[in-house]
């Protein structure tokens, strides 16, 4: 407002430097303003203050809201799904209060399975949650429905809630959205993912290329070989390394074929006479050929061993074996997997290479070989765990739990399916003794994996040490509370 702006200008400099106040006033203020300016009984400052008071009140009494016909807000589309029950919403509030992402995941999953929505009041806190928890985003977007989609438009931090299709996201999304969509498409339609990435590759910057290439590393097939091999001439060393790493996971790639060729010469199964020539036995001979194709050493195979007990030759062979698919040996020996494993395990010198076969099994994600090694071997190969079916995995883990507890807990924490009662018992037996490491936040984040039935057994895991007991009692009470909320999540929908 003009008069008030003039008053401020005077106030900024002070009446000593700038004595003028707005004049002439309009007819509303003229009489009062004249009375102030003609009052000889007051000084310059008082005159200013009185005029300011007059203008202030004129401003606040006449404050009218501006009219802007063209300003509108688009209305949110009507929901097609229905809202979930008050009890379910109440539970969601309790879960948000507990700040357990694990329980929130369970709740959202159930809500989504039932095709239900949260009420608008809960949409902002959920979108806010999704801002930090990327793994919950998709579920949250589903559960927030059209209102969530509409609301997200007004907050750039919530642009993940847009309902652009995959192709639009790939074309116009943020780097993170593009990375996610590429990874998703690579699993469902590897050919399409390859096409998309090849099309935009020349336009991507170096950092973007590396991130996208890493996202591409799922569901690798022989169709990816040609393109990945073309990346070995890229300028960026890190891109070359990543491409090479991915090629090493594809059996039909040139690099794996090259390793196989070396191993075909190095590993030979020979029939030897035994018992004075009355019978024969199979003997496995492993020795690098005199002339090894030197190019293998440019693909990441190290020439020298850094361990005194392992010779350079053993080290090279170990690396090569871990980079060829385990079914290569089936063809090479013309024997089934059980026999192949027995052949390697027969002699100490050859059994040395079994861990490399286990590494290759994990590298090429061969589930049959993983099951065989886990079921028959006595050694523990944690890298095989993701390839095993739940019952065998649990059996394998339980067999080695005592020695490998910390690693087992780390692995189990990253699984998605609810743990069996047996594995939960083994885990709690260990975590209850290590309450400082596995405190409330550990259970808060993994409660979705604990079966609710374990609630009745928690007391059994109480540690004997007095100093740990109190802490465990607090933690077990907390686990009880979380399990109750988890139980409710199964009931309210």
């Amino acid at each position: 407002m003009e008069y008030w702006d003039d008053i401020i200008k005077t106030a900024m400099l002070g009446t000593e430097k700038k004595s003028s106040v707005p004049e002439p006033f309009n007819e509303d203020l003229n009489v009062a303003a004249a009375a102030i300016s003609q009052n000889a009984g007051i000084d310059r400052e008082e005159r200013f203050l009185q005029t300011a008071a007059l203008v202030l009140n004129y401003r606040q009494c006449g404050a009218t809201a501006m009219q802007q016909q063209e300003v509108t807000l688009p209305v949110a589309e009507k929901e097609e799904k229905t809202y979930c029950s008050t009890t379910a919403l109440q539970l969601l509030k309790d879960i948000l209060q507990q700040e357990s992402n694990s329980l929130l995941y369970l709740w959202l999953n159930r809500c989504n399975e039932k095709g239900l929505l949260v009420t608008p009041r809960l949409v902002p806190p959920l979108l806010q949650k999704a801002e930090q928890q990327k793994n919950l985003r998709e579920l949250i977007v589903q559960c927030c429905g059209k209102r969530g989609e509409w609301l997200a438009r007004f907050n750039p931090a919530w642009n993940f809630a847009s309902t652009l299709n995959d192709e639009e996201l790939w074309q116009t999304g943020t780097p993170e959205q593009r990375r996610q969509v590429l990874q998703r498409i690579k699993i469902t339609d590897a050919v399409k993912a390859g096409e998309w990435l090849r099309q935009t590759w020349p336009q991507e910057n170096a950092a973007g290329k590396l991130e996208l290439l890493k996202a591409f590393a799922v569901n690798l097939t022989s169709q990816d070989v040609e393109w990945l091999e073309s990346l070995l001439t890229e300028k960026s060393q890190r891109i070359k390394e990543e491409a090479l790493n991915q090629l090493k996971q594809i059996p039909s790639s040139g690099i794996v074929q090259q390793y196989q060729q070396v191993l075909q010469q190095a590993v030979v199964l020979k029939k030897e006479k035994a018992l004075l020539g009355l019978s024969s036995k199979l003997v496995l001979q492993i020795q690098l050929p005199a002339a090894v194709d030197e190019t293998i050493f440019t693909s990441g195979i190290e020439k020298l061993s850094s361990q005194s007990k392992i010779t350079d030759e053993q080290h090279i062979l170990q690396q090569l074996i871990s980079h060829v698919p385990p079914d290569f040996w089936e063809a090479h020996f013309n024997e089934p997997p059980t026999q192949v494993l027995q052949i390697f395990e027969k002699e100490k010198a050859t059994a040395f290479y079994v861990p490399a076969i286990a590494a290759a099994t994990a590298n090429f994600k061969n589930k049959n070989w993983a099951a065989l090694i886990a079921d028959t071997g006595s050694a523990y190969y944690p890298e095989l765990l993701p390839l095993l079916d739940a019952p065998l995995r649990d059996k394998y883990l339980l067999k080695h739990f005592e020695k490998e507890a910390a690693e087992a807990v780390t692995f189990l924490s990253g699984t998605q399916q609810e743990w069996s009662l047996d594995i939960t018992r083994a885990l709690l037996q260990y975590t209850a003794k290590n309450t400082y490491q596995y405190n409330r936040s550990f259970y808060k984040e993994h409660i979705h994996l604990l079966p609710t039935q374990i609630g009745g057994e928690l007391q059994q895991f109480a540690p004997k040490e007095e100093y740990l007991l109190n802490l465990w009692n607090n933690i077990s009470e907390y686990i009880h509370k979380l399990l109750y909320l988890k139980y409710q999540a199964g009931q309210v929908f």
Binding site: M12, K17, N57, A63, L73, Q90, K93, Q97, P120, R121
Partner: protein, 434 residues
């Protein structure tokens, strides 16, 4: 009485009580519970051998618990009320046990005794003498304050952001010495202006002129109407005896709590409860103070209806009030809302023309929707007139989500062209959005 969960949680004295109350809202924690037409009660198993006896007066919302907590209400009271708000059916209507009856009847006796106590006579001559001495003290303080204001005006406000806190604190302390705590607070808020924000000059000068108006108005109080004199005295910091106020007739009405703002400074918590009377169509501001969680007389929460008699402090435009008597907590009929910002402007003009130093006021508005224009959020009425949403208003996304782009009936707090929503109506429910 039926409170929503959110309303119950708003009664909590702090965040930790909210959390603890929620944990105690599970039925498994309670050994026994019941409800009558007067009270809600339950026995909660704590760490001791005997369960805590928790009771809630549901007529004049009040809590009592045998636990040692100094917080009010304690987590048991909140837990019990939360449980009731979630599952009313789980509370059987039954006769009150002896310990509940005893408390309820004691509360009734206390009310009677309060009335008797009010009959005691006071030494009016001594009172008048004390008042005169204080007024002289205040006037002496005002003279110094006016000199300080004039110095600022003379030298200009350009250098004010460079002044240290002492520049304002010393004058504020002088006003305390002069027995003018209201002026002291106004000076303190002058120093609290955000000098980094754009437009600080207008905010600063606005407040400076208000202080000047109150100070000069009090000095010339004999020329003012008796009601305006009361307003000036209130702004200076003269307190009015609540007991005396309670002797005056009040307005008996169904009051909706449309907003509750809690501010904490050092150990003092100030509750600002904004009320609206359904029959009288009168807005009221009920202040309650507590020190370390103690001292709140009435448990009020946004969205709650109370049937009560309110007595207003004498003013040209009465707003601040005290609850003289609360009869019950009930839900009555409909409210009357203003239809647009033009009506608000008319109302404000009526107030400011007589009380130029008045602060923010509340209004119940019809069909208001949030809109985005010129890189900021506004509140638009049905004629597309816009007022700005108060800067820093944290509930914008909740408001938007509830609106979905449609207009809402809303209670707002503010003045001139800047407002913040306090709550909105969804069907019959009033939901807090601040």
């Amino acid at each position: 009485m039926q409170l929503l969960e959110e309303q119950v949680l708003n009664l909590a004295p702090d965040e930790s009580s909210k959390k603890a109350g929620k944990e105690l809202s599970s039925p498994s924690k309670w050994v026994s519970k019941g409800i009558s037409d007067k009270a809600l009660w339950g026995e909660c198993q704590g760490s001791g051998s005997k369960p805590y006896q928790t009771q809630v007066d549901i007529v004049n919302l009040a809590f009592k618990c045998s636990c040692p907590s100094r917080k009010f209400p304690c987590k048991h009271g909140l837990g019990l009320l939360l449980q009731y708000s979630r599952n009313t059916q789980s509370f059987a209507l039954t006769e009150e046990p002896a310990w509940v009856q005893e408390w309820i009847s004691k509360r009734a006796d206390k009310e009677e005794k309060k009335a008797e106590k009010a009959d005691k006579s006071v030494d009016t001559a001594a009172q008048a003498k004390r008042l005169k001495a204080r007024e002289e003290n205040v006037l002496a303080g005002i003279e110094e304050l006016l000199l300080w204001i004039k110095d600022i005006v003379r030298n200009g406000i350009l250098d004010i952001p460079g002044k240290d806190a002492g520049f304002f604190n010393s004058v504020s302390k002088r006003m305390i010495d002069a027995q003018a705590p209201g002026l002291a607070g106004m000076v303190k808020s002058l120093g609290a202006v955000n000098f980094f924000a754009e437009g600080w000059q207008s905010i600063f000068l606005d407040q400076l002129v208000r202080i000047y108006l109150v100070a000069i108005g009090f000095r010339n109080r004999d020329m003012q109407s008796p009601l305006l004199q009361e307003d000036l005295k209130t702004f200076i910091g003269f307190t009015q005896s609540q007991e005396e106020l309670k002797e005056q007739p009040g307005i008996d009405d169904y009051w909706l709590v449309i907003g509750k703002q809690v501010a904490e400074e050092e150990s003092l918590t100030t509750e600002r409860n904004w009320l609206y009377g359904a029959k009288s169509k009168q807005y009221a501001l009920v202040l309650q103070f507590s020190v370390r969680g103690q001292g709140i007389t009435f448990s009020l929460t946004t969205g709650m209806w109370i049937q009560a008699e309110l007595v207003f402090y004498a003013s040209v435009h009465p707003l601040r009030a005290i609850i003289k008597k609360q009869v019950s907590t009930k839900t009555p009929g409909t409210l009357e809302a203003l239809t647009g910002w033009q009506q608000v402007a008319a109302n404000e003009t009526a107030v400011f023309s007589q009380l130029p130093f008045a602060g923010e006021r509340v209004f119940i508005m019809e069909k208001i929707k949030p809109v985005y224009y010129n890189q900021q959020w506004w509140l638009a009425d049905a004629d597309n007139r816009l007022v700005r949403l108060k800067e820093g208003y944290a509930g914008i996304y909740t408001l938007l989500s509830l609106s979905g782009g449609d207009a809402l009936n809303m209670a707002v707090l503010g003045k001139e062209n800047v407002y913040e929503p306090l709550g909105i109506w969804q069907g019959n429910d009033y939901i807090s959005v601040n």
